[in-house]
Symmetry: C2
Subunit: 242 residues, 2 copies
């Protein structure tokens, strides 16, 4: 757009409007992944996408805020799709697979979005907050779907939401501290859900049914079966019980 | 300050600087408790405190942002003090008592601060985020203190932080939905910690020790003992085990 490209830059290809838009959003995602939103400018996007600044503004007349929201929206769609995994096999495997995708995305795009999830970001608005809430809601929906629950009562809803908040908090903490590896963290988060369902079962029959049905699909010597057994023994200070 | 008061307003009492500051912060807290920060003005504070607007500005030259941060700081100190309860008796009772205070505070001051915890508030800055993070850190510290843990390993730190994030998420959800009563929510949150410690015990010996020591102080027919027993049975689809 602004004169001939230097020789090392690929020649300008005429993209469709949708392709160009997608290219700019993808470029923005890469930048927001590595830098806090306040440190990213439209110039950076133009430079990395090898287009002119006016072109970026033509697609995103609302400036950085609009570009950021578009990038966040795309990230939200990808995050929401994490738990869209085949509805077969043990629950722990499905969620483990979903968590692998979720944690990989957070690790890859973490810097930028963790600022947003943590709050205090300059680009944060009621709209961005709604996008982030939407991811939480669709993750909860997907988890309940894998449990074959169409009408969750308050206890099961609360248990799943408590788990989603733990997943989010843990993935942010793992970005900061990095003491636990991704596979270790994934297994722990699956275990955490099992633990939350166990205690919720003591309050709620629907949750107990869901947990029993899920436990029946677990391989008898698999992680979850072992966990349930170990958890029962972790506190066995005396033989008692029944 | 601005001429004689109308008859129905109490006569002006000369407060010390600290008293006046405390009065204005207390007034601000009451306002921020019922309204989103964007809907509170310094005029409202002046009117409710029955002082002139210039007086409010003299104490808070930074305007609403400064007043908000002072109010948030005080709220944070009160929230951080919630788990400063007597270091005796079963862990579940201590935490239950701390949770009663925490949940009562959130219920009383919820509207305003939930906007902040949720993000997207106009008064949110890196500074307010740091204050909120400080509450999380001191809550985690207090919980570890009640567990008599001075050097938590990564697993125990992660378990306690996961619990704090659940407490926060659940208290916000309860503001929105109000399906669970405060006492029910408190008991559930204690149970959730027990569940999280159970599953973390399967990964980590320090956590297993902490849970065993805590379980020994629980009354044998109390909530937690019953929970541990019920949880073990919630998934007992076959006799096997041990």
């Amino acid at each position: 757009m602004s004169g001939p490209h230097p020789p090392h830059v690929p020649a300008y290809r005429r993209l469709t409007v949708d392709e160009r838009r997608a290219q700019l959003i993808a470029t923005a995602l890469r930048l927001f992944a590595r830098h806090a939103p306040e440190d990213v400018s439209l110039d950076d996007v133009a430079q990395l996408a090898e287009v002119s600044r006016p072109l970026v503004y033509r697609y995103f007349p609302g400036g950085k805020q609009q570009l950021y929201e578009a990038a966040l929206q795309q990230a939200a769609e990808r995050l929401s799709a994490c738990f869209d995994v085949a509805a077969e096999g043990p629950l722990s495997e499905r969620l483990g697979y979903g968590l692998d995708r979720y944690l990989a995305f957070v690790r890859e795009h973490g810097e930028g979005f963790s600022a947003l999830l943590r709050g205090g970001s300059v680009v944060e608005t009621a709209h961005t907050t709604a996008i982030v809430d939407g991811v939480r809601r669709s993750a909860a929906q997907a988890v309940l779907g894998h449990m074959h629950v169409r009408r969750p009562g308050p206890w099961l809803r609360v248990a799943v939401r408590a788990w989603i908040s733990s997943v989010e908090a843990m993935s942010l903490i793992s970005l900061d501290e990095g003491e636990l590896g991704l596979a270790e963290l994934r297994d722990y988060l699956v275990d955490l859900l099992v633990g939350q369902l166990m205690v919720t079962s003591a309050h709620d029959r629907q949750t107990a049914r869901v947990l029993r049905a899920a436990a029946e699909l677990e391989p008898p010597d698999g992680r979850v079966a072992t966990l349930l057994e170990r958890a029962a023994h972790a506190v066995a200070t005396e033989p008692g019980g029944s």
